[in-house]
Symmetry: C2
Subunit: 94 residues, 2 copies
Amino acid sequence: MAFADTFKALSDPVRREILMMLRHGSLSAGEIAGQFDMTGATISYHLSILKKAELVRETKVKNYVYYGLNTSVVEEIMLWLSELKGGNEDDKEV
Amino acid sequence: MAFADTFKALSDPVRREILMMLRHGSLSAGEIAGQFDMTGATISYHLSILKKAELVRETKVKNYVYYGLNTSVVEEIMLWLSELKGGNEDDKEV
DNA sequence: AAAGTATTTAGAAATATTTCTAAATATAAG
DNA sequence: CTTATATTTAGAAATATTTCTAAATACTTT
């Protein structure tokens, strides 16, 4: 059930900030962690949730792990939001 | 901080289903609750979260409370998602 | 005014999430 | 092969979320 995972992943401010950091290219786990006042372990946990939601992809290079955005899942969420707005017919207010 | 509230509100499957139910017009709290295998109190809790996030608006008629979609907040979320996709320049993969 | 219907609030229990520290893995460099 | 650097995993504590039952509000109808 990847769809629900995506909404869950987006519900945390730290994870949303990580995604925004990745807009202009991939960053290593350490580079990401450096931007937060949290342990690397905590950031690793957040990255694992973003990965499970397929919002990021990882690439291993040397002893670094680089994370990059995967925008294709974002489209699905936008589609769902469009449906929400779209089905609005003539708004039968009571 | 209403923006974070909106993402949180959207992170629960029950609340997303409620929003979808409201696409074609307002429904009373009871009509909504009738669609779920949960107590009215629980649905009332979910409605309060949707209301705080400004995703729904309520109208009181007699001893009923009708809930209707407020799509204007959905636009903000879509804008945020667009930014996420948009800033994707040339994807400096490492 | 009393009784009925619809909804919300309060408080508690169960579950899930976020964060930390310490230990484990993985790869690199000396 | 030993030490150093980067990251993840495990386990625990703190906090937040979801759900329930029972009681409280609110408005209607008799």
